[in-house]
């Protein structure tokens, strides 16, 4: 269900059916008290979770991993159409506030009987470019070297 557009931009589309009415699912996405309860990978908590779900409003979450490291992310709402659609920017930053992931996410909530069919589409810039800039003493063409190394490894893995 995902499609890789190019090596620079990554697109992810996920569709899921939730056993709850649209209004409730939409609320779970936009009410910060609810959002804090499910946002993020397994085992993570959200010690900071703020969301002002209206056009131009911002959202800000700090995720905490089971090991205790914190991962801030947030963005701006571009579209808020209750209970049908949410579009927001999604920026994850490092400790110094530099962006490591930049994305635009759209979430569509469709009625599916008593349930909700949710389609999330995100377009994100690959983190590889950022990491290349951030690492010190990088040679030129590192990204290409890395990709070639990766391809070589993948080829060898499948040949084994």
């Amino acid at each position: 269900m995902s499609s890789v557009a190019s090596s620079k931009e990554r697109e992810v589309t996920i569709t899921r059916i939730f056993d709850a009415p649209r209004e409730l699912v939409f609320k779970a996405w936009t009410d910060p008290k609810h959002l804090a309860k499910w946002f993020g990978p397994k085992g993570f908590t959200n010690p900071v979770c703020e969301a002002d779900a209206r056009v131009g409003g911002t959202w800000h979450i700090v995720m905490r991993s089971p090991e205790g490291t914190e991962h801030p992310c947030g963005g701006v709402y571009r579209e808020v159409v209750e209970p049908e659609r949410l579009v927001f920017t999604n920026i994850a930053t490092d400790k110094e506030g530099k962006p490591i992931l930049d994305g635009l996410t759209s979430v569509v909530f469709e009625k599916h009987g008593d349930k909700t069919k949710l389609t999330m589409h995100t377009r994100a810039t690959a983190v590889v470019d950022y990491a290349v800039e951030r690492l010190k003493g990088m040679e030129a063409g590192w990204t290409q070297t890395l990709e070639r190394l990766g391809e070589e490894l993948a080829r060898l893995q499948s040949a084994r």
């Binding site: 779970a28 991962h71 490591i100 590889v128 003493g137 993948a154």
Partner: protein, 116 residues
């Protein structure tokens, strides 16, 4: 976590000597002595690099022979070039949690409605 692991991998790859070591291991496993040869580096210095690579999960050192051959582990590198999968996993896991949370919310709303 995914992002931590990615940072560890990138930090391990930040050094040209370590990248050269990995490139050498693509062709075949090798001993520390063999790996040190092209760099004219001391064995302890090479061992330090190998420890960083090992910690990042990029190589594994077997205990089979006395010379403890080093082998490449492709997974972390494939993770870098396959970052979209991480992103997808983030959302899939979030949705798993949302699923559970929604059923809890529904139960609460039903309880509240009954009390009215």
């Amino acid at each position: 976590m995914t992002q931590d692991r990615l940072s560890t991998t990138f930090a391990a790859l930040a050094d040209p000597t370590r990248r050269a070591i990995l490139a050498r291991l693509i062709s075949d496993e090798a001993s520390v002595t063999e790996l040190a040869r092209p760099f004219e580096m001391s064995l302890p210095a090479v061992s330090k690099h190998l420890k960083v690579l090992e910690r990042a999960g990029l190589i594994e050192r077997s205990r089979e022979a006395q010379w403890r051959p080093c082998r490449l582990r492709a997974k972390p590198l494939k993770e870098i070039s396959d970052w979209v999968e991480h992103y997808r996993r983030f959302w899939e896991e979030s949705f798993d949690r949302l699923d559970i949370y929604l059923s809890e919310l529904k139960k609460k709303e039903r309880k509240y409605a009954r009390k009215k």
